[in-house]
């Protein structure tokens, strides 16, 4: 177990280096290694679309299936043939993307805590993907389909489930009836429907789940698969013949590797490997884990029921309930029960003329990842509030907003340079600590999304010449949405927003993952250069004592 825990950080560091390499080619926003889930879903939809077309031409009888697919490839090489090849290659791509997605989530430790649900619901689809993909080969009923069907039956027969061996269905030429072929059709069409249902479960507890990759990336995947389909069309083997054994096969190793594995090791050992592997993955969330950071807590007295935390929580951990201090709040939209209900896409209130009961946020501890994005969304988190102790509506007990204001005030007061700079970063992105110096105070948050944008204005009015905000690369946020919400808040596209009066030339934003500290240094150098060129005093003297 110890060795297991030692391997993961090293592997994660290697994965991050790979991601950074891909950043150079795709840019951070279009990096496929950070969009594996969305790309996988795109491959699924490509499979569905091409499969629907192919099914329209498939003769679903044992005698006619082979001829119908060969005819499709020969008579419609530029549509049927292309889509047939696309169908196969999209399945290969789906499996590769799925494996990479699983690996990435494991490396990031996204199997524990509140993410247990997504991890566990993500495992059954693996079995469904392979069941569906393998069943697809049977439908063609060529030598490869024959081999796969018999190998699958022999593998299933190793389980003590059925009184009669399934493989007996393939003993003689006439054994494969149209009735059995209907079962093949059901496997290849019914299992993907189950898969779709399972994927819906998989993303149930994610708000704003990425179900499509960025447009350019999606187009890149589609174009790549189409070029491959055109350059190397999938060819049929000879038609199935149960009187002989197919011996030399152009096997799809991505989808059918289990057959040679079961042959080489014995079906029972292959079951042990597959079952053991899946059980291990299922068991991961239940193994001893590091202590969880205390989850966010709501302070009823400071929660006005604005629903911003409800809209911004990446894991749907917040629900709205009637406020214990009930009173009517005119003009507030009715609670719809959905994360986006009653709010614009940018998170602003849509307004309304009816009155509803005042609400309050409630945190579901089982779903909360303790990212603090809710605290960054809370309007009560503004440091301008003239209270001695800043208590916000929703906050992280281990890293409260009030403590951040104090740290910021003290840090700013300690800087002696004429043009001090404050840096806000996150614990999972590029380390901001090493940036600290005579003119720089650095603060690392749990997530950048924890930073209320008003802190930027407060820092500038309190004596900072400039503010650098940093966080993980787009798509690389440990808590999914931190940089996205932060960027939208700073751009004024999401509430709470950074006021338009704040001079943007004194603000620098840099997204950098762990290991990309050089990017932060460059951003700091740019900001330092800009504030150095500013004339006169850039802000009032620090007033750290006022709220300390």
């Amino acid at each position: 177990m110890r060795r297991f825990n030692e391997v993961r950080p090293q592997a994660l560091a290697a994965w991050r280096r790979l991601e950074q390499g891909f950043d150079r080619a795709f840019s951070a926003t279009g990096n496929p290694l950070r969009q594996l889930g969305g790309l996988g879903l795109l491959a699924f939809w490509l499979l569905a679309a091409s499969g629907i077309y192919l099914y329209a031409f498939l003769d679903t009888s044992a005698a006619g299936a082979y001829r119908s697919i060969v005819d499709l490839s020969e008579q419609q090489p530029w549509l049927g043939g292309l889509l047939r090849s696309l169908h196969r290659y999209a399945a290969d791509a789906f499996v590769i993307l799925l494996a990479a997605h699983l690996l990435r989530e494991w490396l990031h430790g996204h199997y524990r805590g509140a993410r247990r649900y997504s991890w566990l619901t993500g495992l059954p689809p693996i079995a469904l993907v392979f069941a569906s993909a393998i069943g697809g080969f049977w439908l063609h009923w060529d030598r490869l389909g024959q081999y796969s069907a018999i190998a699958t039956a022999e593998w299933l027969d190793a389980l003590p489930l059925l009184a009669a061996p399934l493989a007996r269905n393939f003993l003689a030429a006439g054994a494969v009836s149209d009735r059995l072929f209907s079962l093949f059709v059901f496997v290849h069409l019914g299992v993907p429907l189950l898969l779709l249902f399972a994927l819906w479960f998989h993303i149930q507890r994610l708000t704003h789940a990425t179900v499509w990759p960025p447009r350019a990336l999606g187009a890149g995947l589609l174009f790549t698969l189409l070029v491959l389909a055109a350059a190397a069309p999938v060819a049929s083997h000879a038609p199935a013949d149960l009187a002989t054994v197919p011996h030399a096969l152009r096997l799809d190793w991505v989808l059918l590797f289990i057959h040679p594995l079961a042959e080489a090791l014995s079906p029972a050992v292959a079951w042990a490997l597959v079952g053991g592997g899946l059980l291990t993955l299922f068991a991961l969330p239940f193994l001893p884990q590091p202590a969880r950071i205390p989850v966010a807590v709501v302070d009823a007295a400071n929660c006005n029921g604005c629903r911003r935390c409800f809209a911004d929580c990446p894991f749907a951990a917040i629900t709205m309930v009637p406020h214990p201090n009930q009173k009517e709040t005119p003009g507030r939209p009715k609670f719809s029960g959905s994360p986006s209900g009653g709010r614009s896409p940018q998170g602003g209130d849509l307004g309304g003329t009816h009155a509803v009961s005042r609400q309050m946020a409630v945190v579901d501890a089982d779903l909360c990842t303790s990212c603090g994005i809710c605290a960054g969304a809370c309007p009560s988190s503004t440091p301008f509030r003239s209270v001695t102790e800043l208590v916000t509506g929703i906050d992280l007990p281990s890293s409260p907003i009030g403590a951040l204001r104090q740290r910021m005030q003290r840090g700013l007061a300690a800087l002696t340079a004429p043009r001090p700079i404050l840096v806000f970063g996150c614990d999972h992105g590029a380390a901001v600590g090493p940036l600290a110096g005579p003119d720089v105070a650095a603060f690392s948050l749990v997530c950048t999304g924890q930073l209320p944008p008003s802190f930027v204005e407060y820092a500038l009015r309190d004596g900072a010449a400039g503010v650098l905000v940093s966080g993980c690369q787009p798509g690389g946020c440990e808590f999914r949405l931190g940089p996205r919400w932060t960027e939208q808040r700073l751009l004024g596209l999401r509430e709470p927003h950074l006021r338009a009066e704040v001079p943007r030339e004194r603000l620098e934003v840099a997204w950098a993952d762990a290991g990309e500290e050089a990017s932060l240094h460059r951003a700091l150098a740019r900001l330092r250069e800009r504030v150095r060129e500013m004339q006169g005093v850039v802000g009032p003297k620090p007033k750290a004592a006022s709220h300390a």
Partner: protein
């Protein structure tokens, strides 16, 4: 729109080339491993014998007449004069190829009461060419030895599948 500058430089020519190369690598991986290396499921000079049957063995014991006292204890609709054991015999089978025993199996009857059929599915890879095959099967635990026998000389072509089955209506052991 506020004038906030984010560090997102446009992609350079080398980045575009890198993208093309990475997409090409992805396509290459899929294109290659979707059909290569060729899998040799069975060597060209071999053939396959599949021994497979589902057959319900004989009852493990004899039927016996129930006494009047036993019948009287039963509900009227269940007073069958003969009582037979429900459990079936396991089916034992031996296959000799070229005079050497290549397979010896005993298949237990299925079902919780062991009253179902016994099933066997076994592959035997043999060299192609002429083979002397002897099959022996016993489906009655009350009788020693074998209740069915079949011997034949067959010529197997490379990759040919020979199925050894059991069909009581065809006289027992079949080779097809």
């Amino acid at each position: 729109m506020p004038d906030l500058k984010l560090e997102r430089p446009a992609l350079s020519a080398s980045a575009w080339i890198g993208q093309v190369l990475l997409y090409a690598l992805f396509a290459l991986v899929i294109g290659v491993f979707s059909q290569w290396p060729i899998y040799q499921h069975l060597a060209p000079d071999l053939a396959l014998i599949k021994l497979s049957f589902t057959h319900t063995g004989k009852p493990v014991g004899e039927c016996r007449a129930q006494s009047e006292a036993e019948l009287a204890k039963l509900p009227p609709n269940m007073r069958a004069p003969m009582k037979c054991p429900r459990e079936r015999s396991p089916v034992s089978v031996e296959v000799d190829i070229g005079g050497v025993t290549a397979l010896r199996r005993s298949a237990a009857p299925s079902g919780l009461s062991r009253d179902g059929a016994s099933a066997v599915y076994q592959r035997l890879v043999v060299p192609a060419g002429e083979q002397r095959i002897a099959v022996r099967l016993n489906d009655d635990a009350r009788r020693p030895g074998f209740t069915y026998r079949r011997e034949a000389t067959v010529r197997l072509a490379p990759a040919q599948v020979l199925v050894i089955d059991f069909d009581a209506e065809k006289g027992g052991i079949t080779l097809e």
